[in-house]
Symmetry: C2
Subunit: 217 residues, 2 copies
DNA sequence: TCCTGACTCTTACAACGTAAGAGTCGATCC
DNA sequence: GGATCGACTCTTACGTTGTAAGAGTCAGGA
């Protein structure tokens, strides 16, 4: 009797990237708690221990997922001005985050040192230096933009503290105590108008404009 | 023979906040992986199952830790202008995050719906509305500031992607491939000058200035 | 004195990460 | 051909995890 009869869910042979991509798919489908070595193996038609030939341990799966996610970042068009490059970078980050929200929330606190993900960073820094910023200032501008984009995407994916948009149409606003928070609660209807896309744009434009004035001449 | 002889590490009776505070202390001391119900119980001189009388499950411990952390946020001085209130809010968030870095990294992706943590939010929104912003615009400005501060604090606590400051004095910059990243690598020495405090300030000032121009008149 | 409720303990179980080592099989040599 | 080998997978096993179930402890009120 053959031992492993169910490899239907995988076409090629097992590999590091196949494992990581399956992990991302699993987390997106069943949530962060579903990511166990056994279930991940089952997802690939394989026992848990087989995964250890492609990945040293579970923690490396998480790091690999982050790397795999962020390697989707597209570098900005060559020769773009720094404002465009910065806007591009922030938007790319948000796109990647919202395209795999569970994975992003699960791995957002890992520093990302993969070569592939550094290309867009290098491009942005290059654009800043080209525009006359000192390398130190360029790094500050990059950090500001990356922090904003990561923070916004994380809030969006995890649920805003003050949320106008939610599955049940209520969000955190519905439960607000009117006495304790008169302004928030009294303006519920108007607060509901905020759309996450527009809010992201407003903050991004403001940040870039502010950096223009302060940092790069 | 008495059963539990070691309650030395706790003075009062067990309580929800005692459990949560012990969890924060444990995570800060021994890292996120050390947070198991058994070890948390031991920390309080109690068996694991006793904790379940104060907390429904492990996940609630994490939520409670986040709540406990963020309830440290101090609201801005009464009647402060919105710029000052915004700056205050962002700085408070960073202070809280860096004062308990492990806990912050562990819980940063949880939406925070606790009453206590909403007070500074309400104060900031109030200041914005007082300055003439519509509630929807005020919420956008709040989100921009909170996203920036959370994102920056998270990067700072988890390690910047392009890091100038690190324990061994090298950080990610030392390992950079000179060929692939000429600008980053070629300016290593200048990039090292960036201090996290100053970078945070620069981004914050830029964001507030930008919001001033775009949003609130 | 007995009850009651809040708290804690003990015991138990299924699921977890992973160490150790044995089985399988295609490719490469003689 | 057969032998060897390396890459891969499986089985088995161990200690640890979260937590369900229920019994023990004990202060305060009847």
């Amino acid at each position: 009797m053959p031992v492993a009869e169910d490899r239907s869910r995988r076409d090629g042979p097992l590999s590091r990237t196949a494992v990581l991509d399956a992990a991302i798919a699993l987390v997106e489908r069943d949530g962060a708690n579903a990511l166990t070595m056994r279930r991940l193996g089952a997802e690939l038609g394989v026992e848990a221990m087989s995964l250890y030939h492609h990945v040293p341990n579970r923690d490396a799966v998480l790091s690999g997922m982050a790397e795999r996610l962020m390697s989707q970042l597209q570098p900005p068009p060559k020769g773009a001005g720094w404002q465009d490059a910065g806007e591009w970078f922030a938007r790319q980050l948000r796109i990647v985050a919202t395209s795999s929200p569970q994975t992003f929330a699960l791995t957002a606190m890992r520093p990302l040192l993969e070569t592939r993900a550094l290309e867009p960073v290098e491009a942005l820094l290059a654009a800043l230096v080209r525009a006359g910023a000192s390398p130190a200032d360029a790094l500050m501008a990059y950090r500001a933009l990356a922090s904003y984009a990561r923070g916004y995407a994380l809030a969006e994916v995890a649920g805003f503290t003050v949320d106008a948009t939610s599955a049940d149409g209520e969000g955190a606003l519905g439960a607000l105590d009117t006495d304790a928070f008169p302004i928030l609660a009294g303006r519920r209807d108007e607060l509901r108008d905020v759309r996450a896309d527009r809010a992201f744009d407003v903050g991004l434009e403001a940040l870039i404009a502010g950096l223009s004035a302060t940092l790069v001449r």
